[in-house]
Symmetry: C2
Subunit: 420 residues, 2 copies
Amino acid sequence: MDAISFEPPRGMRDFYPEDMIWRNRVFDAWRRAAQAYGFSPYDSCVVESLDLLQRKSGEEVSEQIYHFEDKSGRRLALRPEMTPTLARMVAARQGRLTFPIKWFAVAQCFRYERMTRGRKREHYQLNLDIIGESSVSAELEVMAAAADALSRMGMPADAYRIRVNNRALLSELLDRSGIAAKHHPAVFLALDKRGKISDEAIAELLREEGLDDAAVAKTFELLAVQTLDQAAELAGQDSPAIATLRELFALADIYGIADRLVFDIAVIRGLSYYTGIVFEAFDTAGKFRAIFGGGRYDNLLTTIGGDPTPAVGLGFGDVVVVEVLKDLLGETAAAVRHGVTIGYMEAAQREAAMRLARSLRDQGEEVDLALTKLKPKQFFSRASAGSAADAVYIGPDDVSAGQARRKHLETREETVIPLP
Amino acid sequence: MDAISFEPPRGMRDFYPEDMIWRNRVFDAWRRAAQAYGFSPYDSCVVESLDLLQRKSGEEVSEQIYHFEDKSGRRLALRPEMTPTLARMVAARQGRLTFPIKWFAVAQCFRYERMTRGRKREHYQLNLDIIGESSVSAELEVMAAAADALSRMGMPADAYRIRVNNRALLSELLDRSGIAAKHHPAVFLALDKRGKISDEAIAELLREEGLDDAAVAKTFELLAVQTLDQAAELAGQDSPAIATLRELFALADIYGIADRLVFDIAVIRGLSYYTGIVFEAFDTAGKFRAIFGGGRYDNLLTTIGGDPTPAVGLGFGDVVVVEVLKDLLGETAAAVRHGVTIGYMEAAQREAAMRLARSLRDQGEEVDLALTKLKPKQFFSRASAGSAADAVYIGPDDVSAGQARRKHLETREETVIPLP
């Protein structure tokens, strides 16, 4: 038979036990933070109907969907994001759910991308969504929950910033510049490419959308706005978009996250369905891509045939945050020794070792029991290389004495324990 | 635009928050039990190379694989089981890993099946594997860990039995009946269909494999063996397969699971790669399909091009166990109230409610904060329908007094707490 490749499919990740240390640190922090903020878990299958995904996703995403037909000719796909599925699940029960709902999921998502600089074709993503609430209370809860997750992972508060904007503000400003509402979605998508393509290429996209040179120039002028006060001057003191932003910043103080929030008119977000506040978190040093991002999408449910419902959502991937944490804290910062490993010298001590393992497990301990006899040197060399905090090695004398020594592998302290 | 279906794709499951209660109970029990028994987590992508899966899986599974080509023409598939991926990952690092290894994963797996009686096309499965150990210590650890998981889920020890057999015993007995070793794999696969197809259809499969009528009759006679002692009489007192089974049953006593183990010569397992001990757990009442199953597969790594390595594995799905638990304990047995919900009467109390939420979250509590003002009746009716254990409702008098009442929703007991 031909040899088979031992590599995972291109762009997909294997997680060996040492990789799971970081992954579990991230996933645990996500789940605990979501629950601390009162979000309920939900999930669905990674396989979704292609029709739903094409109806709902931004244009760029559609080309990147992994899709296939099942044996009955159904058009299926590996979801590129969770939001269309969430919208479908909510629409299916719209008459029965009590709004607002606060839901979270940790979902694997797929995108077929060209493979550049270690970019993967799948990742996991925390999704936090609040559906049925139009006040900024919703934005605050998702932002604060994401900040709490970062803090549980060990990320210092000064190591990242959440950049906040309001698409409604941009719409007001574009209106005032004489750019009609029908052009706004295309303008948003073009401006979101800033930094990825040249400003000249963006200007070309805007001209293709029908903007004249004056309108293109005014659009770029907007991006030069630095502060909320400057924006308020342009938008007028009665601007609803400015009022929303001011309320958000004021309440962020009560939530204890005001130190991490900054206004940034250049934050747009790539997906076409956002309608209001949008935000993205970046490491303060600016070395990495966005850690998380999200915003308000009040029209999404109607797009797929549900009732009009205000909503706010956030996506927080597992790749960038681990890069940032490793950079800040070191590659091995997440490894913590835990549990106890038990070994024995001769077959005659096997049953004593099994009894001790059972007794410690009954007491709630994590026990790695050697499956065969080991010489002391072998056992302790494996124990040091492993992840256990403590080690117990049982020889014939220990069984006679009815007790053994439990050794803390880092401090080398020993305590005598009875053998059951 | 046409309406879009709000249903998940056929055979796939949505998990609403109430469905997640059972799922989390099962997943948490799996992870805690695996860790209590010293298994390390691993994972890989649900998308696997089709070549690997076809090389490794049993014949029946191959027809049921969801497969597709990516945009570069790679032949990919949604894995039907985790074992081929595990074998690949181990083979990739065979020179670097220190054996034995004990690994676990909670993996979603897909099979394209005809949809009968609510059977799904995807499920989640705990996989426990020990690679590099040939003694029954390995079988004991995976069985005891699975039993521990059941116990953490609330399953009484007398509600299920683990039926144990040894394929090596069947091979010895078939040898003694004059049935050559080359026929054994086909005989195993035919016998495993017992109960699913008629005995006459099984006999026909055996005749197709080249067994004459006498050999077919002898094969069925073997299945009539009731006890290990009867099997030992047929196999001879020096049978290595009998010795292995006896050792397993003796040590199960030390592990505290002997009460749940029974010898059953009819347990075969459908996959072709098992070589030794095989086992399946069923509810004692016999109402449901197998809860978990597994066995020894010593040749698997060589099949995909790795070095010869003894191995034991177990698969434990999420569907049957929840059916059994709901039948035994009731549909709502897994729901436990937790956390606190906070509401407020008027916009003027919103900041006080936010401050209290922040303070309780800082103390590690799970807090569901109302996002808008609610009338008392509205708030308490939602709180009762929700999942929180406690409720705090803040009115104008509470803010003046600087304190509020925290009410336990089940006992209706109240305690006064300060407002921060």
